[in-house]
């Protein structure tokens, strides 16, 4: 036995173990520091730095000082800067290769702080691919309206073709044409000369006295009678035709007489001002900002979401974790007390914002909620802050079942003083919110990829300043004047859809106030336009219309002539009655 065992080897083994642990104890802080920086930098896609990290064994914990997380979109700023991080670990779980943080305290959290040197990565090859979304088309910050200046009436009448004038011109042509036709036709009809011939023939027949002559006379009389009757019939038909022509021309005349008013209506409709753009004035004033906030919130949510759901969704026990080349895969089995590999049970944080300090806590942070079975919850609040009465933020991120994730956020702000915010920068109607006290209530629910968010903000002690110029016209002046009198209003925003494609609907009582003001101004403008158009159109149409009326009276002569010829024919027919 002695031949096979060398007891001094045990001593060597102990020395080796002591050396390894000594090495670990001396260098572990640096290793942890670099590991945190490397992993976090890779996750964020920009430099993450810390001043120092101190790992303690008894009790198990880690103290990190001055952590700076660069904003990947603005490398000269830190997205977050934290003065101190103290965390206590559950040591027993470390042996099972689980990092369970009992409590984490974050002191002096500051957002959006400037950096001395850029935190951009020199080579972003190692950074995870960040999906760059096309920025959504933002609503205009310049408020512009389609038609707030009306062209001059003379210009309108020069540019537009008047239906009434066309009708009158056409009527004049028709009257002239018909006159010519009837003059020609009058020449073709039996005239006075013809009827005088009939009279001469009748006189000669009356002179015949013999029996034979009388018999022949009767035959001749019948023939003359027939001829006269035919001529009278032609005259009668002509008179009927003339009546029809006159009726038609009079109808056209009546139409032409009414046409100017139709033109006035049509042009008034076309050139009147519209208040359509004002119907959603709140959208124009606040839409851009709300859209910006929504996009930023969604961007951070999309970044955080994978951290809550881990790399593999819905794994079952006995199934491998993600494989790493050359490092094998870890197979998970059912645990008696299931715990994820990484869990922070409680984070107590103090957030320093411009208005003051916000305090709150986050519970149950893990990348495997499916194992823990508890959603992440958070609550932050601040009271009596600078320019802010109170602020409360709470919510839950439930990704226990990643395919049916449900996240809720409630955010309320009371008495938030807003000063000097440019709501519109356009030349036409620049608007500045000089002062307002805002009460804000936001409720958001994200189920899977679907979002329903509702924001109600009540603005009191409002003072708005507008720099509307005279070029904006009466409507602009009315809006500007009304805005300066608004002292309070409510703004509601509803965001619905998916994270990729959502719609923001804004509604405010400010819209009604402004629309009424604009409607009144537009109404006044429309009445003036109508008056001017009537004057302009009638001055163009009245002359030709009078000429047409005069021309129509020219048909009286033709009509009289036809009547006279008919009379002559009828008197001849009386003369032909027997006995002579």
């Amino acid at each position: 036995m002695k031949k096979w065992i060398r007891w001094q080897g045990l001593g060597v083994f102990v020395i080796i173990v002591i050396i390894v642990f000594g090495f670990w104890y001396l260098f572990i802080d640096g290793i942890v520091e670099r590991a945190i920086e490397r992993q976090a930098t890779q996750a964020v896609g920009a430099k993450v730095e810390l001043e120092s990290a101190d790992l303690t064994i008894f009790p198990a914990g880690l103290h990190v000082s001055h952590l700076q997380v660069t904003n990947p979109d603005d490398p000269m700023k830190n997205a977050v800067e934290i003065s101190r991080i103290n965390l206590s670990l559950e040591a027993a779980h470390l042996l099972r290769r689980k990092i369970i943080v009992k409590e984490m305290a974050l002191d002096g959290i500051q957002l959006n702080t400037p950096r001395k040197i850029s935190g951009a990565l020199v080579s972003r090859a190692s950074a995870p691919p960040v999906l760059k979304k096309e920025p959504k088309k933002r609503p205009q910050e310049k408020i512009t309206f389609t038609a707030f200046s009306v062209p001059d009436v003379a210009e309108i009448l020069e540019r537009e073709e008047l239906e009434s004038l066309k009708l009158v011109t056409s009527l004049q042509g028709d009257i002239q044409k018909e006159k010519d036709t009837w003059r020609m036709r009058l020449n073709e009809l039996p005239d006075r000369k013809k009827f005088n011939e009939y009279r001469s023939r009748i006189q000669q027949l009356k002179k015949k006295k013999s029996f034979g002559g009388l018999l022949g006379t009767a035959g001749d009389i019948a023939a003359i009678k027939k001829d006269i009757a035919n001529d009278l019939n032609r005259i009668k038909q002509a008179r009927q035709g003339l009546d029809r022509t006159l009726a038609s021309l009079k109808g056209k005349y009546d139409q032409a007489k009414k046409a100017p008013l139709k033109d006035v209506e049509r042009l008034k409709k076309k050139y009147s001002l519209s208040t359509q753009g004002i119907a959603n004035m709140s959208g124009l004033l606040f839409g851009s900002r709300i859209n910006d906030w929504t996009q930023k919130a969604f961007m951070w949510y999309e970044r955080l979401k994978p951290l809550l759901e881990g790399s593999v969704k819905n794994r079952k026990h006995g199934e491998p974790d993600t494989s790493l080349r050359g490092k094998g895969v870890y197979i998970r089995f059912k645990e008696k007390e299931p715990l994820p590999d990484f869990l922070i049970r409680t984070v107590n944080a103090q957030l320093q914002i411009e208005a003051g300090d916000l305090e709150g806590s986050i519970k149950d942070i893990t990348n495997r909620q499916d194992i823990l079975g508890i959603p992440l919850t958070f609550i932050f609040s601040g009271e009596n802050m600078k320019g802010l009465t109170s602020l409360n933020l709470s919510g839950a991120l439930d990704h226990i079942n990643a395919s049916r994730s449900k996240d809720t956020v409630n955010f309320t702000v009371q008495g938030f003083n807003v000063r000097d915010i440019a709501l519109s920068k356009g030349d036409q109607l620049p608007i500045t919110l000089n002062n307002a006290v805002v009460d804000l209530d936001l409720k958001a629910l994200i189920k899977g990829d679907t979002i329903v968010a509702n924001l109600i903000s009540k603005l009191g002690s409002v003072r708005m300043e507008t720099g509307a110029k005279d070029t904006g016209g009466v409507v602009m002046s009315s809006i500007a004047s009304m805005l300066s009198t608004v002292s309070r209003f409510t703004l509601k925003a509803d965001i619905t859809g998916t994270l990729d494609k959502y719609t923001t609907t804004l509604d405010s009582d400010l819209d009604d106030v402004l629309k009424n003001a604009a409607d009144n101004a537009v109404g006044r403008q429309a009445a003036q336009l109508e008056k001017d158009l009537k004057k302009g159109i009638f001055s163009k149409v009245d002359g030709p219309l009078g000429q047409a009326k005069e021309s129509l009276s020219g048909f009286d002569g033709i009509s009289g002539e036809l009547a006279q010829r008919g009379k002559l024919g009828n008197s001849l027919m009386k003369d032909l009655r027997l006995p002579f």
Binding site: R6, V12, I16, R96, P320, G326, G328, I331
Partner: protein
């Protein structure tokens, strides 16, 4: 390294028990084939130091088997995956998974499990095989090798001088 090889050759050519050299190789096989930072390797190192095995053989064997491990990693991964996902063994793995000691041993890693099983299976056969090889070498090859032109040339070079330098060290390591 030259001194290490020379030392090993000296042991190989001496009257040292072949089992001490073979066992050193077999323990080095576990150390080399399985991931170094595994709990069981602490036991293997303890055995290497506590049991009177040839340390030069251990180190050479470790270097040799570490090289082989890179080639065999896919095979170990496959073996580990098959064994760890066997339905019949699920109960055993589950109870081990709930033990802190075994979790620390990373038994549920496919390469740790695959390479460890592979090493265990080949431990005794290789021990016996190495014993046989060493014995046969000493009986048949050693004398013939000494007479070859290559060995004569070898004796004239640096390696042989190193061998000579340690030849006076007596005993096994």
């Amino acid at each position: 390294m030259i001194k290490m090889i020379a030392k090993f050759l000296k042991v190989l050519n001496s009257e040292t028990e072949p089992g001490q050299i073979s066992l050193a190789f077999c323990l080095a096989m576990i150390l080399g084939l399985t991931p170094l930072m595994s709990l069981h390797n602490l036991v293997v190192i303890l055995l290497m130091l506590l049991v009177r095995v040839n340390l030069s053989a251990c180190i050479l064997g470790w270097v040799f088997f570490s090289g082989i491990a890179y080639i065999l990693d896919p095979l170990f991964n496959l073996i580990g995956l098959v064994v760890l996902t066997l339905k019949g063994l699920e109960g055993l793995w589950t109870s081990l998974y709930n033990s802190t000691l075994f979790r620390l041993a990373k038994f549920n890693n496919s390469i740790v499990m695959g390479s460890f099983l592979f090493s265990l299976i080949f431990f005794i056969p290789l021990y016996l095989l190495f014993n046989q090889i060493i014995r046969k070498y000493r009986v048949y090859v050693l004398e013939w090798v000494q007479k070859t032109k290559f060995m004569k040339a070898f004796k004239a070079n640096k390696l042989y001088k190193a061998y000579q330098a340690v030849s006076g060290w007596g005993g096994t390591s």
